[in-house]
Amino acid sequence: MDKRVTLKIARITRETELINTYTFKHNLGARPGQFIMLTDFEGGEKPFSIADCHADEFSITVKKVGEFTTRLFEKQEGDFLSIRGPYGSSFFISNQKVLLVGGGYGTPPLYYLARTLLDVGADVTVVNGARTKEDLVFCDRFRHLGVRYQSITQDGSLGQEGTSVDLARNLLKSEHFDFVYAAGPEMMMKALMSELADYEYEFLFERYMKCAIGICGNCTVDPIGIRLCVEGPVMPKKYVVQLTEFGRYHRDATGKRIEF
């Protein structure tokens, strides 16, 4: 049965002015890459990737982007929110040398992935990019985790100017990686894909979701029709290379195709 649980917010962590992490005391049992649907019952229910998950708690990281997330930013620790999930596919867990490429507020699910990869003995490198240093999240967390870590911003507010794809490109030139993971803006992943012809990889996708249980069809991707809420949101290379809509369009709440 599709189960809903209503939980108190145990902890709110301010990441940047526009990005918060919400932690809940609950044994969610999610795997890296999976997501939950979250609502405050005031209108709107949205998917959020799991940023971290332990036996007794899990967290999600939220950027204030619209009406719904603005209401979340008004919540206090101890307030209730309601969730269902976890849903969707999860990342392949490699124990070899791997590269994780994150962009903006898409990066947090890579934290749970990195921690899980380290647990099985993988050699983990993380590159993290954002528009400005104010948009860059989880730097300290990745550093404390003990992975090899590099970050970069497009405006050079941390020194070097560029994107996480630039960092990845440089690393891929000089080193061999057994597996590459990415989560972030779709155009970032599209740019990264062209660097990865010879690599195995998985990307974390985002699409408008409604039912989240594989029935409504709002998050099917063209041309194969797999559902991002069931077969995704983590998609392996064998699917990614088939997607004609990747980096071109997505569907909005009406189902209309919207170009990126």
Binding site: T39, K210, G214, G217, T220, V221, G255
Partner: protein, 307 residues
């Protein structure tokens, strides 16, 4: 090879009696393809309206022990973009498509019919019975035999496709409404739409779970209601029925056939058994044919009608 599941609905041959119903996976051409490659013999589009609709705010889906409530709210990209998805699907597949349309008045239904006439769709389904837009549109048309007859008759006058009327179970006398649709020239009926509506409550936040408060009920718990209404209706009319409501296993599909359905919708079961549910039920029907010694699905007997 001889296809033992092949049957006919209103003159159109279908390779499997299983139908993807409106509102399930039919938003995009690729969602239709994904359902067809997994064994659906007929595909229904999302119910299309003249203008795009975003539908209700979430939560739009709520599960409980016996099934689900949903209040999608007729989200759809509008008739033009919706038919583009239908046409894109038909370019890639021979699977028959039912184009479902929703409107609240005669003019809109007629305009929608003109659009569908120009599409690659095989059937036109009139959704007269969406249970999730009461606030916006009031009592559904399907509650009135007179209204159903009036709209079906007018649409039949201009439609180039066979016309299916989708009926609501949430009425006092569905048989009289079905008869009105038949008398007005409907080529088939689709029944039942979701039941209720019903509601669920979050006891910690003291809120209805669905943002729309109420939603139509689907899933295994509605099967007995669907069987009863299909049986009553099929006893009283001659046009074929697309029967649906809680069908999850092959035996449910056989029950629906025995009650009088010619083809059979499978929707919420996708949650319980995955998108593979169509192929699974196809196989389960074949196993039933073998067990009972029937050559094809068309040999499965019907219940004695109610006299």
């Amino acid at each position: 090879m001889h296809n033992r599941l092949q049957t006919k609905f209103s003159g159109v041959t279908v390779d499997s009696p299983l139908v993807l119903p409106a509102g399930v996976m039919g938003m995009s051409y690729s969602g239709m393809s994904y359902s067809a490659v997994h064994g659906a013999g007929v595909i229904t589009s999302k119910s299309l309206t003249l203008q795009p609709r975003t539908g209700h705010k979430g939560p739009v889906m709520a599960g409980f022990e016996g099934g689900f409530l949903n209040c999608m709210g007729l989200c759809n990209p509008g008739i033009q973009d919706g038919l583009r998805e239908v046409n894109d699907f038909k370019e890639r597949s021979d699977t028959p498509v039912i184009v479902s349309v929703f409107a609240t008045n005669m003019d809109d239904f007629l305009q929608l019919t003109h659009h569908v006439n120009e599409s690659a769709g095989d059937f036109l389904e009139l959704n007269l019975s969406c249970p999730n837009v009461f606030d916006e549109f009031g009592i559904p048309l399907a509650a009135s035999a007179e209204e159903v007859g009036r709209i079906v008759g007018a649409v039949k006058g201009i439609s180039k496709k066979p016309v299916i009327a989708k009926l609501s179970p949430n009425v006092y006398d569905i048989v009289s409404i079905a008869c009105a649709a038949q008398d007005a020239g409907a080529d088939g009926l689709c029944m039942i739409n979701t039941v209720g509506p019903g509601m669920l409550i979050d006891t910690k936040m003291v809120k209805p779970v669905l943002h729309n408060k109420f939603g139509g009920l689907s899933g295994p718990c509605i099967k007995p209601i669907a069987l009863k209404l299909v049986y009553q209706t099929s006893s009283a009319i001659d046009i074929p029925i697309l029967g649906m409501g809680g069908v999850t296993y092959g035996n449910d599909a056989v029950e629906m056939w025995m009650a009088g359905a010619q083809i059979i919708g499978v929707g919420t079961a996708i949650y319980y058994r995955g998108i593979e549910v169509f192929n699974m039920i196809n196989q389960e029907i074949l196993a039933y044919l073998d067990e009972m010694g029937y050559e094809t699905i068309n040999d499965i007997p019907r219940l004695e009608p109610i006299l």
